[in-house]
Structures are given as structure tokens and as C-alpha cells.
């Protein structure tokens, strides 16, 4: 039982981070209908910027954090303006492939700049593990979870109350209507990319803090697909819930199935669950079923 609870709590903690990264993904998808295969690479770049600021330059944690957000926002802006703007309205395959190409470019550039060696961060949070009753939670996981959930909450508040957030939701809902209400739809697209990149980079920061950073950190981005598909591609609430489901499923699978099959169950289990859920609900748990007309 204790083992189960341990797996469950670490699953929830990791799931919170997944939820944050998935949020960045869903933001971009909702606003622009672009499925971003480079989410994982945005994470990796965020983690590397933090590494550069805090280790190589020697800045304290909070300013480095601000630099990461600024850098990620700039990256999002750049990518949207130079590449993705040309792809609006193109067939799905082109959009999928252009973001895959982008992820390959970012990985290669990161490897050129920071080499493929493993880099680890200085400790960000208090080292002492968190103890709840009999449970011991690793401090990195716990504080990572707190940061992730705070960021998700801030984003949620922006969307609910800030003018920008409401305008973004309006754009996602109906572009024509937003145009006629005086919303600058194009700048909303750019903003979606900036927000998406920031969310992903904070996620990358947390993951980098837990396990260090390498150019192939972006591979974790693949796990975002079970998360967002489970929740439904265009549902923010679904993305958060999907994050928790995937975090818990992979930890339970890692704990109970890995000894039976000899490892690897942790990575494959979310995808098995994904296939099973899609068989029953082809639009994810909370996705909108699109009605198509000719």
C-alpha cells in the first residue's frame, strides 16, 4: 500500500508538470490549429537557457527564471513570424512536418552550442524531502509540482479575466467574429506561440531541475501527445486532467509492470492507454467533436 501511495504521489507530481507543458501545446492548438511537435524542444531550450544563466553566467535563480521566460517568448515569436505564419491553412501533413523539422533544427543547434554532454542545475529548492504522514516526497518533485501548478493557475486567471486572455479565447472560438470586434487576430496567433513557448520552457526548467538537461530532453515532448489526446486537443481542462492521468499511469506501470516485462513499461503504458481511450472516445475525453460540412 505504501509503495502504491509513493507511486501515486510521484505520479501526481510529474503529472502536474506534464499538465503545464500540455497547456502550452493546447494554447497553440486552440488559437492556430497547429499541432506543435517541437514542444519538447521548447522545453529543452528553456532548460538550457536557465543552465547558461545560472551556471555559466552565475546569476541567481529568480533573474535567470525571468531570462528563461523572455528567451522562450522570443523563440516563440521568432518561430511564429518566420515559419508558422506561412503555414496557416496548409494541409495537416505540412503543419505536422514543419514542426517536426523545427524540432530537429532546435535539437541540432542546442547540441552545437551546449554539446551533447549531460548538464545539471545547481539546487533550486530546499533539499529537505517533504514528509506527509508516512509518505516521503522528493523535494524536487514537490516544488516542481508547486511551480507547475502555480503557472497553470496564472495562465488560467489570465484567460478568465485579463483582456488579452479573453481576446485569445474569442479568437479560438470564432476568428471572423473576433476580427469584427476589433481583435487583432494575427497578434493573437503570435501571442499564443509566445505563451505556449513560455509554458513549455517552464516545464523544461522543472524537468531539467529533476533530471538534468541534454539535447535529447525534447524526447519527453512525445509524452505530451498521450496527455493532450486523452484530454482532447482543444480543451485546457482536459490537458490538465490528461497530465495527471499520464503521470499516474506511467508511474504505476513503472512500479508494477517493469519488473515483469524487464523495463520500458513506463514509456509505453501511456500510449497503450491512449489507444484504448481513443477506441472508445475518438475525440479524447473532453475534445469537441467537429461537425463537418461540405
Amino acid at each position: 500500500m505504501e509503495f502504491f501511495l509513493l507511486l501515486l504521489t510521484s505520479g501526481i507530481a510529474v503529472g502536474g508538470v506534464y499538465a503545464l507543458i500540455a497547456l502550452g501545446f493546447v494554447l497553440i492548438y486552440k488559437a492556430t490549429s497547429i499541432i506543435n511537435f517541437a514542444t519538447g524542444e521548447f522545453m529543452m531550450i528553456g532548460a538550457y537557457i536557465f543552465y547558461t544563466c545560472s551556471v555559466l553566467v552565475g546569476m541567481p535563480a529568480i533573474p535567470s527564471f525571468i531570462v528563461v521566460m523572455a528567451g522562450a517568448g522570443l523563440l516563440g515569436l521568432l518561430v511564429e513570424r518566420t515559419i508558422l505564419r506561412h503555414m496557416l491553412g496548409q494541409p495537416t501533413i505540412s503543419i505536422v512536418m514543419v514542426t517536426i523539422g523545427l524540432s530537429s533544427i532546435l535539437t541540432g543547434v542546442a547540441e552545437m552550442i551546449w554539446t551533447s554532454d549531460f548538464k545539471s542545475f545547481p539546487p533550486l529548492f530546499p533539499r529537505a524531502p517533504i514528509i506527509v504522514g508516512d509518505l516521503i516526497i522528493r523535494s524536487n518533485l514537490f516544488w516542481g509540482f508547486v511551480v507547475a501548478m502555480t503557472t497553470v493557475a496564472i495562465f488560467a486567471l489570465i484567460f478568465k479575466y485579463a483582456k488579452v486572455g479573453v481576446a485569445m479565447r474569442a479568437t479560438a472560438g470564432d476568428q471572423m467574429a473576433s476580427f469584427s470586434m476589433g481583435i487583432n487576430v494575427r497578434s493573437m496567433f503570435t501571442l499564443a506561440w509566445i505563451f505556449g513557448a513560455i509554458a513549455a520552457s517552464i516545464g523544461g526548467l522543472i524537468i531539467g531541475n529533476i533530471g538534468g538537461v541534454q539535447p535529447n530532453l525534447g524526447g519527453i515532448g512525445l509524452k505530451i501527445f498521450p496527455v493532450v489526446i486523452l484530454g482532447g486537443l482543444d480543451s485546457i481542462g482536459g490537458a490538465v486532467l490528461g497530465g495527471f492521468i499520464v503521470g499516474i499511469v506511467e508511474n504505476l506501470a513503472g512500479g508494477y509492470l517493469d519488473p515483469l516485462v524487464g523495463g520500458g513499461a513506463k514509456n509505453v503504458a501511456p500510449f497503450v492507454v491512449l489507444v484504448l481511450i481513443l477506441m472508445v472516445r475518438p475525440y479524447g475525453l473532453f475534445g469537441r467533436k467537429e461537425i463537418e460540412r461540405l
Binding site: I93, S104, L222, L278, M279, P282
Partner: protein, 347 residues
Amino acid sequence: MRIGDYKESYAADEAVFVTSTSRFWLGVLFVMLAIFPFMAGEYLLYMANITGIAIVAALGLNILTGAAGQISLGHAAFVGIGAYTAAVLTNRFGLSLIVCLPLAGLVSAFFGVLVGAPSMRMKGLYLCITTLAAQVIFEFFFVHWESLTGGIRGLNIEPPTIFGLDVGSEFGFYWVTLVVVVIAATMSRNIFRTRVGRAFIAIRDRDISAELMGINLFRYKLYAFAVSSFLAGVAGCLWVNHLKSITPEHFPLHESIRYLAMIIVGGLGNILGAIYGAIFMTLIPEVLQTILKFFEGYFPQAMAYLYPLQTVVFGLLIVLFLVFEPHGLAEMWCRVKAYFRLWPFKH
């Protein structure tokens, strides 16, 4: 110069190569392909073989993604299934290469239909992610079904023979690859001229319209998955007989993406495009290596950048082609031809 269609028989109307010029150049191509192995060294033959294998796999993906419009992120897994099938059939049952080729294709096609089955209810991005899931799940089986696949160490096979002839060398295998490539290309070309191929294209262009015209979407999507993974399986069988060993590392997600990149760079839905794309994407890493070797004289650590540079160039090619030349190399080649046909006049 050809300025009109003057066809007087059904045979002329159905011909693949319409003009005598194109038939002439096709003949020249075959003669050159036949002479090539006698002139080329071991390394060039090796490159020709892996290019040929890539062409077969790309032709398969081109049918599924290019013609039927279903994005597959799991093509490498089907190549892998073909390769493992061939290795197991050869090792355990002693079947020869010529029997293994279609069998590997069939087993792969079976799994293709299995993966394609969710397309009854899903499409677009959701289906694309299902194929990603298939890639991850099959990769897991390659690594962990040790009694069959040999786990991480993989499988080794004996050099293949055909009718008692040893084709294990690069020279011998060249002929096997060449024959399979020609058959696969002819088959692909002919599929597009049949009812099935036209149905694929109708589904790609607008699935609802296709359904209204009486095309059974589910059945034809399954056909597309089956044909595509059949070719992938055949490519896998060639692969294992060429390298004589396989490990799960040969068929990662990145390999699937490479096949997608081939058909995009070459030109989606175009047979020649798939061939150009496969050749181009196989040669690019070698070209980069040569360039870096040249620069090594000036910058001693240039070779250290080889791997990241390959990654960057790979991504850059995909992005640039999609932004500036969405119809790929095939379209570029058409434009070059059109330019020279009228040269030196502009119009």
C-alpha cells in the same frame, strides 16, 4: 516538341510513358543501372543498396500518406516488422530470400491493417497520433519480446542466396534491390491508375465527398494501410538481408520521420518524387560528411559538428521545402524541364 494529344488506340491512351523520348531515356537509365555495378566500388554499391531499400519504403509511405492522405508516424515500425519476420523465417525455417520477401510484406501488411483499424472512427491528427502510439508500442515489442527478436542484441542472419546463387555481397545484392525497386515502382504507378488508387486520392482530397460518391472510406483506408505496410515489410526484408543483422535501434521514431521527410522533399503523392526524395535524403548525410572532411584541414574540430549539423540540415530541408517548394523535387525537376524545352525563348 509535343504540342497535342493524338491518341488513336486504347493502348496508346493507357501507356505510362507517353512519348518516345521518355521511353528512350528510360532505356538509357536501365542500361546505366545495369553497367553501374561493374564500374562502382564497394562503397558506392553499399550506398546504392541502402538507397534502393529506402526507395521501396518511401514508395510504400507515399501510397498511404501521399495518395490516401493518412499521416503515418509508424512507418519504420512496419519496416522493422518486415525485417524481424524475414530474420525469424530465415533462421528458424530456413526459407530463402525469394520466399521471405512476399511473406515479410504480408506479415507487415497484417499489422498495418491492425494499426489502420482505428481509422474507422478517427482521422487527421488523432489518427496520426495513433500511428505514433503504434511506433512506440512496436518498438517496445522489438526490445522486450526477447525469445523472438533477440532483445537489444537483435538477430543475425546468414548471407542470403537465390536459386543457389550467393547474393550476400554488395554486388550480388545490388541486383536483388534493383529488381525489387523496379517491381515496387511499377506496382505503385499502376495502383494510381486503378479504381483503388483513384479512391485513395478522392479520400485524400475530401473524405466526405469521397464517401458520398460511394467509396467505402474504412475499407479503402485499410487497403492503403495494407499496401503501404506491405512495401515497408518488403523493404525490411531487404534491409535485414543486406545488413545481415538487426537491432531495435534500427527502427526508431526518427526513422519514421525520415521516411516522411523523403516523400515531402521529393513531392507528396508523386512516384518519382518518392524516388528522388529517398535518393536525396540518403545522400545528404554523406555529402555533409564529405564537406566537413574538406573543412577539417582548416578547422581541426569540424568533424565534431557532423552529427548536430546533420540534424540541423535535416530539419532545415523539411522546413524550407514546405515553405518554398511544397511540391518537392519532382516539381522542381518539371520546371527545369519546362524551361529547357523552350529555351532560349521564355514563353
